[in-house]
Symmetry: C2
């Protein structure tokens, strides 16, 4: 079995590599026509896809999947419509491929610049939500990449039905069906293969729980665009305008709980703690947010506040819990964030120009903010049009990753006969 | 022993990580003062460094190192001067850190942009030439990164003497000496450790033979900026101006043989082969370049031309040998380059606008050229100021890599109280 999976994955890889060279040369109009044909094919296959999804749902219930998972798995007519709407959005994005920048003359007389090109083949590993199949495929196609999709076993029928429609659309416009391939086995060995074929796959994009992503990162021999923790901070500095600090601290924690850009630790300068903490605590109490505070926080808010342990500073609660620490000033705040944080998104609230400038320079996170809610760290809010994911890496892509994350740049040199002296 | 090496490398890694956070916040003037102090320290240590180098040279001769290696190992007073000159050049480069680009307003009212930041800690693995120690250290410092250097065992004394002077310079301006560390053991296990400490090292830059680089890439769990083969092509298209094609084909092959951007295969359109091949063959004959041709080439140039085997098309000769193939046109040329080439640097010689445009778009190489010699693929010729290396990867850095290759970008968000709706 192991052998035949290896062979199967090798074939999938080879086919993707071949398809990628055709896609890389495809014009914007061909790629958009493909997306449009996929739109039509999906629309025509709606009953078939929803029926396939019902098989997954029935099997999921038989296997006692938990209700949150079943909810993410389900494709309703409304969700199907949203999925098609997302495809239209991708169609309307600018084609990033072929863009030439920084073209300039050198003393030798050559002109040198950079041209944006596809990465080649993307490997996507994800769980439950079948709409990711279409989202990932359409973003890959728009950026001229072939893609190999490995969804969760619980969504196999849904994903294959969606893939079938996608491949039908590709065929209609004369592109190879192998531009988008869905792994047809639920054997875990297939993932092991996918992430160790650098000859066929250029980048891996995992979406799922932290355990999955850590395992993939550890075992992959291919670059991974990965997203781990979001342990975000808001630091209310001594010069903060509390009319800004209060709504931001409330929004960053309570706008949505289960998201990576929600605040998990609130830092407050001791010079404003006596004034600020009771007021924000009242707002949190209305939302039933549990506070876990340092000694100074407990002293100010009263002993009913639970104490924060060392582990709390590291925690990504993803729920209505917040760690609160009173700090002696800027220096302690930055040290705390760089030590305990996950380098995701951190904000300072201050009216002091020099401190804002310092915070921006010294906090080592993928998004650093002044006087804004951490909840803004998002591809759509940043104007990227679409979001492949949020990267917690520094190499290649950092923070919210748009279509550009699936591209690279090559150098182009234009001359009229120059030789090297 | 294995245990103590692991412990030693952990300490080196921790120290580098700590130093990197101080360096990341260092202003341009502090970094330039450090480079200036290092300049003075090296000048004062010249006799000591040259003496250390003589120990390495004596040991090298005792160990029967080959003469090419000994030549690369030797530090003469002239080479020492050149090394210091290179340091001055790095001092004069613009500081890339802190540069903010693309700052623009979003509909929500936040301003969003990107700020250039150091990667953190660079691990450099290299062979023989001790001047790389200073070059790598100065580029890392200029870009705000700490660096761990692992030179060849044959250069240990030279590298340590240079590192001592560098650390003296760092101390003078109050920066931690651990900004630049040289591994003091020649045990190979140290390399194994260095490339598997993602918690302390952000990127690995290897310089050396292909075997070394392949091994590092295979075993590393950290991104590697790597350079493998340079199998470069020049394609003389049917519309080529032979007054440009002849000097370029000559220059690309014979300007220097042992370099990665030298041409290794010449492709000639059958429509100009009869005219072009005899003329270029005469020029190559003067330089005693051995030609290995396809059947058509042999037919045109005579049976004295050796036949090219399938392997020849893959070969990076790094010497006065050239494979020559007559092709039916653009399509065959592009297929050949993308199949047999190493995606390094490839050029077309043509006066046809549309074919030039097509070649630029479809050749999947880190540098694609029109009417210029492949020898231009070089950080200095491209105006990068300094060259970390030439990357054959697509992720993070591609082609000649300058100071930017040791940096990343983070998002910055500026607001005046915005919250997410």
């Amino acid at each position: 079995m192991q052998d035949s999976i290896e062979q199967y994955m090798q074939t999938v890889g080879q086919q993707a590599r071949q398809a990628s060279s055709i896609l890389a040369a495809a014009s914007t109009i061909v790629k958009n026509n493909a997306l449009s044909a996929i739109y039509t094919a999906l629309k025509n296959s709606e009953p078939k896809i929803l029926a396939a999804n019902q098989i997954d749902m029935t099997q999921g219930r038989d296997h006692n999947l938990d209700s949150a998972l079943l909810d993410r798995l389900e494709l309703t007519p409304t969700r199907f419509k949203d999925m098609l709407h997302g495809l239209k959005d991708v169609m309307n994005l600018l084609d990033p491929i072929g863009e030439i920048t920084d073209l300039a003359y050198r003393p030798s007389g050559i002109q040198i610049g950079k041209m944006r090109v596809p990465l080649g083949v993307v490997g996507m590993i994800y769980e439950s939500r079948p709409n990711v199949t279409l989202e990932a495929a359409s973003l890959a196609l728009k950026s001229g990449n072939a893609i190999i999709l490995r969804g969760g076993s619980e969504a196999l029928h849904s994903n294959q039905a969606i893939a079938e429609a996608i491949q039908h659309g590709l065929k209609t416009v004369g592109l190879p069906e192998t531009c988008v391939q869905v792994i047809n086995t639920t054997d875990r060995a297939a993932v092991g293969q996918l992430i160790t074929m650098p000859e066929y796959v250029d980048v891996i994009v995992p979406r799922g729980g932290k355990g999955l992503i850590e395992r993939i990162t550890r075992e992959a021999t291919i670059p991974v665009i990965k997203h781990l923790d979001g342990n975000c901070h808001v630091f209310v500095e001594a010069h903060a305008d509390l009319h800004k600090a209060l709504p931001i601290a409330l929004n960053a924690k309570t706008h949505r709980y289960g998201v990576c850009n929600a605040m998990e630790t609130l830092l407050v300068d001791e010079k404003v703690a006596e004034e600020f903490l009771p007021r924000i605590a009242e707002l949190y109490a209305e939302k039933q947010v549990e506070l876990r505070g340092c000694l100074a926080t407990q002293r100010i808010l009263g002993a009913t506040i639970k104490p924060a342990s060392e582990e709390d500073w590291y925690e990504e609660y993803l729920g209505p819990i917040l760690a609160v620490k009173v700090v002696s000033g800027m220096e302690e705040a930055i040290q705390h964030i760089n030590k305990y944080g996950s380098h995701h998104t951190d904000a300072i609230i201050t009216e002091n120009f020099s401190l804002a400038r310092q915070f921006l320079a010294r906090v080592d996170s993928s998004s650093v903010m002044v006087n804004a809610s951490t909840r803004f760290a998002d591809g759509f809010e940043y104007g990227l049009g679409a979001e492949i994911g949020i990267s917690t890496d520094k190499i290649h892509a950092r923070g919210p990753v748009g279509l550009e994350g699936l591209t690279s740049q090559k150098w182009i040199v234009l001359g009229d006969g120059q030789i090297r002296q």
